[in-house]
Symmetry: C2
Subunit: 565 residues, 2 copies
């Protein structure tokens, strides 16, 4: 772990933010390679969860107004319990501190923490006593505009920006369910005392899909693709199942097919991105862990040097979010579902007989007639009506009953939402750990980052054998060809060729292209494979096409040219 | 303008943020089409300013700690003057209010505003008096961590995240100038009372390149590409020049070649993205408008319904930023420039004669000898030295002078930085305005968004002539082919074919592919061009390649198939 973290900083993957000013926990900088890797991840995610779903991507502000978070519940419930030392003033997140010192899992309430502190007489590391525990809201707050302004918060998730736009979005899809809406962007959580590097960030990157569906239709036409996928499923009772997704749905372990579809698709995506299958599992939230409104929730977890860490959450949030925003905004966030064929319903209608009503009820007759016309309850030998607060029993002789047909064209429903929510920073980090490797080449130990070829931030390195003309000009010429073909390309002419290969092995560049003496004789170069260290010689003309084939697949380099040593 | 803004909302380009809660000025939501267009813009920008420069992209937090902004000057100087009405409590940005009411350009100081208010007896719109004007800092502030925490600010520009990483970045480039570093992301400005929609946002999107160069080398090897480019240049005296960039450098209108290079490249980029050349100009900052540290600064301006608006700023910021962070962080942010050949300098060295010094100076002799050895000034018949605060004149007989050679391998310098800074929201909006058009087709008026083909958020719409089988299945089949080929594709089968064409004309989709009866006879479809409304018939097999050729060029559709009516 020390090896990889040292490499990540030194080679430009991840840097400590504000380093020259002493740093600040909970923030990370993406250097050029980290940024490239995370962008690859985002693009792959788009391919899976936007382009290949009936889904769109939107982009809403990171600052939100207070109304949004009152409705969503974050203003009141997005809290951790904080404990502050009376002596040294240090503040800890109560559940983490108690877990660390006492090994106890803590409920997230001030009451529970208060009890634990007193029962175990738990003190601060400095020996001081803790003040009374307090709920600390984890949203970063700010003020919009001058003077007192308006309260604003940095969004704790991208999802709310989707829910509050539901009307516009439904309009875009012409009210036809199901549809998905995603956002990729920053979210924030003002952690009390984050201490796990990129694993617990105060500012992080999310990719969230909100997949809106008819409450009565939690299926997906493409589920068959993942029907037979087996991936460890740890249920809410901590029992691990190694069965197919289809079986897990049938046995009721996963609540429904649509959740199972997104579990399958998530696994597929993560493995394609470079998470090792054997270090991946899905874990169901326990009953006391799941949000009260969630029907079922599964986390994808990756095993890293920090243990099993949550990298994706997949929840059925029901109609909670839309219903809350509907209530607080007073806007209608339901959609009208037309039936394929209108339903025809036979209804009985009451027709008042004025000729009978008049003489009997006199001044009240008109009002009673109105009430009869609007009556929609059971029709017996008499009808009881409320007229101006008075209860009146109207006998059968005062009205006729006729039977008519009513056409019902559809119904208004509030869709349910299934949310796969991805923590891009943690996934990026887990990919780096899972790819980091050490082996021995030609008797020499080397570090090698076995990133998937399509994920690598530097796809090709162009290396002139010697750092002088005409090698360097030829290298630059080839760099231009490759850049124009859309490859992320670097040129490097400093140090021995062996040292340069090691450098690109270490950052995960899948292919090095070397210009040697023979290049000037027959317009060929060598391509070297990072993983096998095999080399083949190919024509410069064919280089872009060969690299293109190699970079989207795991094909063997030896298919493309004569082996070279 | 009303036409376009109505369309942008209705069709999913730009939405008012927090609309269901009454909205909030200074924020905008990108709907699916707006998001697609802005992402295309970002990718084009990367192609121009990262991939095709010696440049990298990094990604640093949007929240910054206070130290950063004390050093950058934002904590003290990133302010506007605010005036608040005593009666109604409304707060205005002073310079805008004074400009609007009195037509006077205002200096950005509270003193000046105070004077204007009293001289003109300027009142609030409600008739009330203004309180004393105040400087309002435009950074959104927040608190990091619980309790009193640490002050944090939302970054007012992405640039500072680059400057504070300078050491890591220089390391990545192995100290070899010039190099560029960019960020694409959110920045924030807590505007006092924004009222111009997407033109004046509190949360906006920037793409900034910081191009670090040797202070003595403000040239670019590719300037020849823009040598002869003519684009209106309005200098700081409001004189417009219609000369080539080369001439503008030679005449001293633009400070140096490197700035001119980025002006040329920016113009090239903007036009490629869809800004109309005839609605684009570059305007030099006036002496009192330019930041005190900037050597020269040019804004790209686009003409829109809001008048000429700044969409890009290109400044030579000198060594200001690095020097400030160097001073405040006490880190060495210079880099060592090796000379190609070490410079050899003859130096005279003083060698003390202890045999003479001892008897004369006794106890002080040792210290005088030391001082002589370290002496580096002029050497005459005597040398004056400070020894323990005492001034001592040492005659020639007490020392020898020998001449030696010293090799100087290089020098430490603080690079200068040229910064092209792009406002992506304004550029996106200007592109939309410049593309929006109305014409008459077959005697019917239509709206058409003439986006560049490579920028369109929906590149292809697939339309079954009839909304029934087998047309719909065939349409879905073609959609899958096109999605797999990487095109942003939509399918639409609702409404008459003519109405669907109009819909895609309006959102700027360059090509519609129609499945008609003949499709089932000979496996062909028609492609319709948005701008000319011409149609050609092509083989389905060839569709992806034809679309690919069309989408990266402005080639005529008639090159690719037989005309169809």
């Amino acid at each position: 772990m020390r090896d990889i973290n040292e490499m990540l900083v030194r080679r430009g993957y991840l840097w400590q933010s504000f380093e020259i000013y002493g740093g600040m926990a909970g923030f990370v900088d993406y250097g050029p390679l980290g940024n490239g890797l995370r962008r690859s991840l985002e693009n792959l995610w788009r391919e899976y969860f936007v382009i290949n779903e009936r889904a769109i991507e939107i982009d809403t502000p990171t600052i939100g107004i207070e109304d949004v978070f009152i409705a969503s519940g974050h203003a009141s419930s997005f809290t951790d319990v904080a404990i502050e030392c009376e002596s040294c003033g240090k503040i800890f997140r109560a559940d983490h501190y108690i877990k660390e010192k006492l090994g106890i899992e803590t409920e997230e309430t001030a009451e529970f923490v208060r009890e634990v502190l007193s029962t175990y007489n738990l003190k601060c590391e400095c020996g001081g006593r803790f003040k009374d525990p307090e709920n600390f809201n984890l949203m970063f707050s700010t003020t919009i505009g001058p003077g007192k302004g308006k309260p604003g918060y940095l969004r704790p998730e991208t999802a709310q920006g989707i829910f509050i736009n539901f009307k516009r979005i439904a309009d875009y899809f012409r009210d036809k369910l199901p549809f998905g809406v995603c956002q990729i962007g920053r979210a924030y959580r003002n952690e009390i005392s984050p201490r796990q590097g990129v694993i617990r960030l105060r500012e992080f990157n999310q990719a969230e899909l909100e997949y809106f569906t008819h409450p009565g239709n939690k299926k997906h036409p493409l589920f068959k693709k993942y029907n037979n996928l087996k991936i460890p499923l740890v249920d809410k009772n901590d029992v691990e199942h190694n069965i197919t997704l289809r079986e897990a749905v049938e046995k009721g372990i996963i609540a429904h097919e649509l959740l199972a579809y997104f579990i399958g698709k998530t696994a597929d995506f993560l493995i394609r991105a470079g998470i090792k299958k054997e270090l991946l599992r899905f874990r169901q939230h326990k009953d006391d862990e799941r949000a009260h409104y969630a029907v079922d929730c599964w986390d994808a977890e990756a095993k890293t040097s920090y243990g099993w860490i949550e990298i994706v959450g997949i929840a059925d949030r029901g109609d909670y979010d839309l219903t809350r925003h509907k209530k607080y905004s007073k806007e209608d966030l339901s959609i009208f579902i037309s039936y394929d064929n209108p339903i025809i319903r036979k209804v009985k209608k009451v027709i008042p007989k004025m000729s009978e009503l008049g003489p009997t009820f006199r001044g009240k007759a008109k009002k009673i007639a109105n009430a009869l016309e609007n009556y929609s309850g059971e029709i017996g030998e008499s009808i009881e009506l409320d007229v101006d607060g008075e209860r009146i029993k109207v006998e059968r002789k005062f009205f006729d009953v006729v039977e008519t047909e009513e056409k019902i064209f559809g119904e208004r429903i509030v869709p349910h939402v299934i949310e796969p929510s991805f923590g891009l920073d943690r996934i990026t980090y887990a990919i780096l750990e899972h790819s980091f490797d050490k082996d021995v080449v030609d008797g020499e130990e080397r570090y090698v980052l076995r990133l998937k070829r399509w994920m690598a931030p530097v796809q090709v390195a162009v290396l002139p054998l010697l750092s002088k003309e005409p090698f360097t000009s030829k290298a630059e010429e080839i760099v231009q060809i490759l850049k124009n073909s859309g490859f992320f390309t670097e040129r490097d002419d400093s140090g021995s060729i062996g040292r340069r290969y090691r450098r690109y092995d270490e950052i995960g560049t899948p292919f090095c292209v070397t210009i040697d003496h023979q290049t000037f004789e027959d317009s060929t170069v060598t391509i070297r494979d990072r993983d096998t260290t095999e080399q083949v010689r190919v024509k410069i003309d064919e280089l872009p096409n060969i690299l293109r084939s190699l970079l989207v697949s795991e094909r063997d380099i030896k298919e493309f040219g004569e082996r070279f040593r």
